[in-house]
Assembly symmetry: C2
């Protein structure tokens, strides 16, 4: 697409203009992908910020108003709010519109949205794997998606043209797009994202409960590994609350494996079993190699 | 100190020329801190590499030979090797020499070294909190220590002049130096470094045991949090094995708290208790603020 090309969507509704919604708004502007963007948020203060930063052209606190005439409705709120939003906006959706999202869980999102959507609307669930530990419209960046992966989890009956348009959208935002089924997505993301976040939240919370006298030094000497965990555990609390609740089964299954492995290590330390520790640490070094070879660092 | 100043140590023995030993060798060269540096390693191949990279001036595989006439003997091997090294080198130590180290545990290091050292020698245990996930002399960098903390844990009877010289050494390497007692060090580092590493090793190991079909995608989509854990879990296996064994009590105590906290979160997910999750995640966000205010990121 070059200058003068028609826009990809005449009208886009961004439901939620936090880190991801705002970044999508900005990149759509930069790339000329949308004719007009309407933003929706719960508070007028957030919308004022989004207007001020030129993330959206119009703004409303009412999802039902936001989606009128929209060719693309992109849900960018925490996933726990999707069902209610769908119920509110369903009757106002334009026939032929595409409904998509950016949530980190996909089976639950499909289950929450599908019952409300009219047959004339195309659901293309998606997950751009990008983010920072910051939240809100002011954290948005048109470069957030650059070089990262976006996973789409279309249903078998989803219109191929709708999937293609979403693929173009995220590709133009700088992402590599891959399709897979929702169940597989939720399992892979439980490993690569949900469990790491859960563990980071836990360990940082554990540190918080230590005697107060030790905390200033925990902050001061955080560079030894703890710092990375505090960054991960600074991510949006409501977003992550919803992810854990909505992908609970996969997360709890993995946690059971993790706890078993942790018990093995505990026993090895307790017994002074150096061989077991060394073998484990050798193995994990190999995994790092795999990540580097997949160009993920 | 400016050009023409006398060197801080006429002769330095680096026992171990891995990431930290090599980096110290390089910064001593750049800053003109040592007259002559002798490196000691178990294999000739490592020593050849250290000589080739101009990290050391002389090299030997025998610690007893390395320490002859040395004014500073710096132990830079994994801490599990310290007792044996001390036994081997003790009789050859120069009266008035300073013996120090860079180990991540301090109580066990003191207990392992002290029985072997002659009274005429000054023990100044130290811990420069710096590193990367890479190992070996070729990973060394004269800038590794810049802007980071170094903790010294001198004993009550340690000569003040020796502590001052070590403080100067690490300050000239670019570090801020702080003294505390060994027990306190081990507790703080268990929180900020040892537990995070242990958890990272565990979680990456857990991922490794998943069905093989999922692994390529775990690598591919590692950016969601897992990537940071793989970096931490790629650190030197022998070094970390020794740290966990040598600081086992503090690490196991903390692990008990962590496991209890993890159980609370498990129950919250299982019950769909969104309030508990959100409260925890709000708290951890505050801790991140503390780390940022301590300028640790």
């Amino acid at each position: 697409m070059t200058k003068g090309d028609p826009v990809l969507f005449d009208r886009v509704a961004l439901i939620g203009v936090g880190l991801i919604g705002a970044s999508l708004g900005l990149v759509m502007k930069r790339e000329g992908l949308a004719g007009r963007v309407v933003g929706c948020a719960r508070t007028q203060a957030t919308l004022d910020k989004a207007l001020e930063l030129c993330i959206v052209d119009e703004a409303t606190t009412d999802p039902a108003a936001a989606v009128i005439e929209a060719d693309l409705v992109m849900l960018c709120t925490p996933v726990g709010a999707f069902a209610k939003t769908a119920a509110t906006m369903a009757k106002r959706l334009k026939p032929g519109a595409i409904v998509s999202d950016v949530g980190s869980v996909k089976q639950a999102v499909i289950a929450d949205l599908l019952p409300f959507l009219p047959k004339s609307v195309h659901l293309v669930p998606g997950h751009p794997i990008a983010g920072t530990e910051h939240s809100g419209p002011e954290a948005g960046s048109a470069d957030l998606f650059k070089g990262r992966w976006c996973i789409l989890t279309p249903l078998q009956e989803t219109d191929a043209g709708a999937v293609k348009k979403l693929t173009t959208l995220w590709t133009r935002a700088g992402m590599e797009v891959e399709a897979m089924d929702a169940e597989h997505h939720d399992m892979v993301l439980a490993v690569t994202s949900h469990l790491p976040h859960l563990i980071a939240y836990t360990i940082v919370g554990t540190a918080f409960d230590l005697e107060e006298t030790i905390m200033p030094e925990v902050f001061k000497f955080a560079a030894g590994g703890f710092r990375d965990f505090t960054r991960i555990a600074a991510s949006d609390p409501v977003m992550w609350r919803d992810i854990f609740l909505k992908n609970g089964d996969a997360v709890l299954d993995l946690l059971a494996c993790f706890t078993k492995d942790l018990d093995t290590i505990k026993r090895a330390i307790h017994r002074g079993d150096s061989k077991t520790l060394e073998n484990l640490f050798m193995r994990t070094r190999k995994i790092r190699k795999g990540v580097l070879e997949a160009h993920q660092d």
